[in-house]
Assembly symmetry: C2
Homo-oligomer: 137 residues x 2
Amino acid sequence: MLKVKIYTIGRCKEKWLSEALSEYEKRLQGRAELEWHLAKDDAQLIDWTHADPNLIALDPKGDLFTSEAFSLKLLQAGSRLSFVIGGAEGIPPKILSQAKRRWSLSPLTFTHQIVRLVLAEQIYRALEIDRNTPYHK
Amino acid sequence: MLKVKIYTIGRCKEKWLSEALSEYEKRLQGRAELEWHLAKDDAQLIDWTHADPNLIALDPKGDLFTSEAFSLKLLQAGSRLSFVIGGAEGIPPKILSQAKRRWSLSPLTFTHQIVRLVLAEQIYRALEIDRNTPYHK
């Protein structure tokens, strides 16, 4: 069972986002668990992430992958993973300098809501690629 | 006024997607119009796009941009633009070979629903970058 912590800023509770995320969380049931940590501000985000040894910062300037490469990287990274998504100002420099890994979902800047959705779908896709199902063709 | 045609496969009418898209379409009102052409299959997608002179194929292997570069490219591309998003099997080779431009929203593969959302948000972001508003910091 893959356990993924996702730290992000918790403002903006769009209904469409909750609906889309629960769809992927349902599909991941029994195989992966997404644990959302919604900080109220950058200070709390720094506080929550600073002692996490498995932290991956999601940043447009990070390493880019195809979905196949992302799947491999994710599954090689162990069963305990943590991602941090920045707020409107991006990821605080303090977190960026501390995170051992910096991955990118795209060189484009997305809203943090869209990052949450893209990440959840990509984790699901990674597991489907690993199982070699028709989801990813 | 920017007029953007978006050709894609019309299956899977997720409620969350309509809600998220209408949010961006509302914000774009008066500045850009997104015209969705939802084909029933690849054959119809090919048929609808083959005579479009402004076609941009969205493909993970296309040109990657930062949001700032995407904004420039988009605004330099004229006021009539067309994007084509592939279905589950990606963009049909016939369309790929015909499209003069091939842009990528990410080297990762997204569902075509997520591509629709990312594209709409990125068009909105492109116009906000051009207006130099605080939306894109």
